[in-house]
Each structure stands twice: as structure tokens, then as C-alpha cells.
């Protein structure tokens, strides 16, 4: 890890964008304490701290994939602001909000990002719900192929199809069913 002390955050961001797992891991370990502290100080458990933090890191990672995205603050501030907002929302949903948030870092409102984050979260949850509704064997086939990137051969063996063409035909049938579910409650973004 010692050689991974880049001069600036820009350098980090570049490395993370380039898909270097070590850079992401370094970032993950560096900023966890601050956010964990925030969640624990505000009525949360360490498991919740982990979930909220990971969600913030995922959001940050996804933002980095957007070529137009420019970070206008420190990574720490970005993560803290997003985690703070996620946690406030969760507290509201869990009805554990005590009306008094203890902050120990600067944070920014990120109005624009937040609506985008909410929208992505909604898309994510909806796709998961559709997958759940799909039923077997379609769920396993599509999850293996699209989410776990399994090969058609592996799926054929697992599901017991006689050949890959059969498996493929089945996969496309499932895809059509998923599409139907997906558009049943589709709201234009």
C-alpha cells in the first residue's frame, strides 16, 4: 500500500476511473471511519454504517463513470454529504429520527445529484422487484447471464438443457417476460 500514496485526489480519481481496485480499496478504508462515526453518533448500528457507506461509495463510483462529471469538492466531503443524506432518509423511513443531527464534517447539499441518485435507486429497486416477480427458471437464467455474466454453456449445464441453442431460446423468452413486467409499471424518467 505504501507506493499508493498519490499526490492529489485527481490522481486517485484517475486511478479509480481506470479500474484500479487498489485505489478504490485505499479510498474505501480511508473514508470509512468518518462516515461510520457519523452513523454511529446518529442512532445507527455498525451494519447500517457499512451499508450506507458502501452505497455512497457506489454512487461516487458511478458518478466517476460519467465523463461529464467534475468533482468540485474533496472526495471526503462528497462521500460524507451523500452518506449523510442517505442516512437522514433512512432514519425518516425507520422513524428513528430524533430531530437533531450531529455533524463533524463539512457537507454540501448536492441538490442535482440527489435527484439523480434517487432516480437510479428507484431503477435499481424496480429491476430487482421485476426479477423477483419473474419466477423460475427465468430468474436464475437471467440473473446468471446478465448479473453474474455466466456463459451460455454454464447455464445450459446448470439448468439441464440439451444444448446451448435451447438455453438461448429460453433466455430470450425470459427476456421478453422480464420486459413485459418492466414496462407494466414503467414511468418515463
Amino acid at each position: 500500500m505504501t507506493k499508493l500514496k498519490p499526490p492529489s485526489e485527481t490522481e486517485w480519481i484517475r486511478q479509480i476511473k481506470a479500474g484500479q481496485a487498489e485505489a478504490l480499496q485505499f479510498l474505501y478504508e480511508k473514508h470509512f471511519p468518518s462516515i461510520s462515526h457519523f452513523i454511529l453518533a446518529n442512532n445507527g448500528t455498525s451494519d447500517e454504517a457499512k451499508d450506507v457507506y458502501q452505497e455512497s461509495v457506489i454512487i461516487f463510483y458511478e458518478k466517476l463513470q460519467d465523463p461529464d462529471f467534475v468533482l468540485h469538492c474533496q472526495i471526503k466531503t462528497f462521500l460524507y454529504s451523500i452518506a449523510r443524506r442517505l442516512w437522514l432518509k433512512q432514519l425518516g423511513q425507520k422513524q428513528r429520527f430524533l430531530g437533531n443531527i450531529q455533524d463533524h464534517e463539512a457537507f454540501l447539499p448536492f441538490e442535482e445529484e440527489l435527484s439523480e441518485i434517487d432516480e437510479k435507486e428507484a431503477r435499481f429497486l424496480k429491476m430487482e422487484a421485476c426479477m423477483q416477480k419473474l419466477g423460475e427458471p427465468c430468474r436464475t437464467i437471467l440473473q446468471d447471464f446478465y448479473l453474474h455474466k455466466a456463459s451460455m454453456q454454464a447455464i445450459r449445464d446448470k439448468m439441464g438443457y440439451t444444448d446451448t441453442d435451447n438455453a438461448k431460446t429460453q433466455k430470450y423468452k425470459c427476456l421478453q417476460r422480464l420486459k413485459k413486467l418492466f414496462f407494466q409499471e414503467y414511468v418515463k424518467p
Partner: protein, 377 residues
């Protein structure tokens, strides 16, 4: 369009870039020609995009889970190492003390210093809490030429001395109480005034009167003004009347005032029957007000006067305050007693009761004035 079963593999290949260049071109041409196909491709585009999103998130999540587990492992390992180091030598405590005494001394002095400074800061804070609360309440006097004056002051200090003192000018609102020329505004508007004028625009004519404060009540933040111009003959009969009974919570109210050169109308409702910090002299109203609104009349739906807008909460959005009309009534009574004159009679009956709001305002607007306060100190 062909059967959907048959076309999906092609659509997927298209999105994955698995079609050859010529196939891509012909596929795009087919889409161009067939709106139904285009629609289908678009649907699959959305579906694949969300599948990709879920895939990426899940993969990233499992990667982060790995980081997390590794991190926890490292943390678990770290304190153990420390424990080993502590017990490794017999005379460890002595060496440790010798080595770190200077550090301890520095740390102790910093601790003492920080305790003292904390006490100092706390003391100061406690003393200023009352002051802070006061500053939450913004009196809505418009500081018309503050900027101008600040500039002038800079210029003046550069030019050394100047003979005439600076003239401060404030703007606010006042409205007519009697047709004989009494008006009311807030005390904070006129409290350090040298001379006060009221102005109003009538069609093409601009009314401009000199007034004097004849009664001031700092506690209730009210000041009664009387027009002293010789040209003044009297106002028309007032269209509104004083409503002294307490207004109800949620009652719709409106106000007219001069936060700028032109009259501005604002409406809202009585949002609390007490004002700033539970002050029972005032109502809290949900009307957006601005500097210059001070002294504006607060009227109910029937055009009865129920208060005088006086201030707003600095840190609360949409919370303004208005002095209740019954306090104005008691001030009018004591003014009459002081001057040994007849009570300053307000009309008994409002002429605005059943008019629409624009009609009410048409009748009202001639009785609302800009107050200009000049202060030579």
C-alpha cells in the same frame, strides 16, 4: 416487423456491438423504416441499461464487501501488536516515563489552556444569548441609502472634514387612522427621526405631507403620526374599521405596503396568536414581508384592520409579526386622554366587507402611505 422472438437476438447483438458494420447499417435502416421496430429497440435499450446498472452495482457491492472484510481483519490485528509491544520489556514503564515526560508536560499545559479558553468562550456565549435572540427579529425598516451613505463616508474620510452631518433616510409604511390626519406606523421606524414625511401616489398626483409623532409606544412598537402640513384639509371617509377582538388562528389576512417604490400586496393567514418568543402583543402571520413592510396595515377578509405589520423572524421562513389592533385602540384612547380631546373616532362599519379583493384594494390604497424618515445624526 418480424416476430419478436426472432428479432431479440439481433437487438441484443446490436447493443453489444456484435453485428458487423454492414449488418449494423442495414439494421439501422430497418429501424428507420419501421417505427414499431424502433419502439421495440428503444424498449430493450432501457431494459438493458437497467440490467447493466444492477449488474454493476452488485459486482461493486461484492467488491466493497471484500474491502470491508479485509479492513476489519486489519483492525483486529492492529491492537494485538500494540499489546505485545507493551509487555515486551520489564523496565518499560520507567523508560516510557523518562522519554515522554516533556510530551506529557506540553499536553498538560494545552489541556489547562483549553479548559480556560472554554470557560471564557462559554461565559461570553451565555452573556450574548439574550442579544442573539434579539437579533433574530428583524425590524422591517428599509435602510434606503445605507450603501450610498457608506460610500459617501469613505469619500468623506478621504476629503478630511465636511461640515454637514450625514442624512440617513429610511422607508416604511404608514396608514391613515382618521380622516382628520392621524396615521399609524411602527415605533422602530420613527424612533430616531429628525423629520418625517408621508407620501402617496394618486393617479397623476403625488401627495406629500410632513408629519409629527404625537404618541409613541416603544413597548408595543407603535407610533401615531399627525399631519402638520397647512395644505392638508382632510382625508375621505375611511373604508375600514378597527377590529379589536382577537383574530382566529388560520384566518386569511392581507397587507399592503411599500417595500419598494410601488405598493405591494401580500396575503396569508394568522399562523399563531402570539408572536416572537411567545409575545402576546403580536400575531404571527404567514405573509412574506420585506424591509419597508413595517407599519403596513393587516386586514382580515372583510377589510377590517386587525393589526400592524412590525417585523419578521430572521431564521424562520415565512414568519412575520403584526401588532394586534386592540393595542392600537388602547394607544388611541390614551392619546385622546392626554390631549383632552375627543376619542379619535374610527368608522364603525367597514365599507369593504363584501367587495372582491381588487375592489377592496382600490378603496384602501389611498390610505396607505410611504413613510420617509430623515435622520441627521
Amino acid at each position: 416487423m418480424q416476430d419478436e422472438d426472432a428479432i431479440i437476438p439481433k437487438i441484443e447483438a446490436y447493443f453489444e456491438g456484435m453485428l458487423s458494420p454492414s449488418e449494423t447499417v442495414s439494421f439501422e435502416q430497418a429501424m428507420e423504416a419501421d417505427p414499431a421496430l424502433r419502439q421495440l429497440v428503444e424498449e430493450y435499450r432501457l431494459l438493458f441499461a437497467d440490467l447493466a446498472l444492477v449488474q454493476q452495482r452488485k459486482q461493486l457491492k461484492s467488491q466493497l464487501d471484500g474491502f470491508h472484510a479485509a479492513m476489519l481483519q486489519k483492525e483486529a490485528a492492529a491492537p494485538k501488536a500494540l499489546r505485545v509491544a507493551k509487555t515486551s520489556k520489564p523496565g518499560f514503564a520507567n523508560i516510557f516515563l523518562k522519554k515522554y515526560v516533556p510530551t506529557f508536560l506540553v499536553a498538560a499545559s494545552i489541556a489547562v489552556l483549553s479548559v480556560l479558553s472554554t470557560i471564557w468562550v462559554l461565559n461570553n456565549n451565555v452573556r450574548s444569548i439574550e442579544q442573539k435572540q434579539k437579533t433574530d427579529l428583524l425590524s422591517l425598516r428599509r435602510d434606503l441609502n445605507r450603501v450610498k451613505e457608506e460610500q459617501a463616508e469613505i469619500a468623506r474620510t478621504q476629503r478630511e472634514k465636511q461640515t454637514s452631518p450625514p442624512v440617513r433616510q429610511y422607508g416604511a409604511t404608514a396608514f391613515v387612522l382618521t380622516s382628520s390626519g392621524y396615521l399609524v406606523t411602527n415605533y422602530h421606524v420613527v424612533k430616531d427621526a429628525d423629520s418625517i414625511y408621508v407620501e402617496s401616489e394618486r393617479q397623476n398626483d403625488r401627495l406629500h405631507f410632513k408629519v409629527e409623532v404625537v404618541y409613541s409606544d416603544p413597548a408595543k412598537d407603535l407610533a401615531i403620526l399627525k399631519i402638520v402640513d397647512e395644505d392638508f384639509i382632510g382625508f375621505a371617509e375611511l373604508p375600514y374599521t378597527l377590529r379589536t377582538e382577537e383574530a382566529n388562528l388560520g384566518e386569511p389576512v392581507f397587507t399592503l405596503a411599500y417595500p419598494r417604490q410601488e405598493m405591494v400586496y401580500g396575503e396569508g393567514s394568522i399562523s399563531a396568536q402570539s408572536g416572537y418568543l411567545g409575545d402576546t402583543l403580536t400575531y404571527q402571520i404567514s405573509i412574506p414581508v420585506n424591509p419597508g413592510n413595517s407599519g403596513g396595515p393587516l386586514l382580515d377578509a372583510h377589510g377590517n384592520l386587525i393589526g400592524i405589520v412590525s417585523g419578521k423572524h430572521l431564521e424562520m421562513e415565512g414568519a412575520a409579526f403584526a401588532v394586534k389592533a386592540k393595542h392600537l385602540k388602547s394607544d388611541l384612547d390614551s392619546l385622546a386622554k392626554e390631549n383632552q380631546t375627543q376619542a379619535l373616532a374610527m368608522p364603525v362599519k367597514s365599507r369593504l366587507s363584501f367587495l372582491s379583493r381588487p375592489e377592496q384594494i382600490k378603496l384602501l390604497k389611498d390610505f396607505v402611505f410611504v413613510v420617509r424618515v430623515y435622520n441627521g445624526k
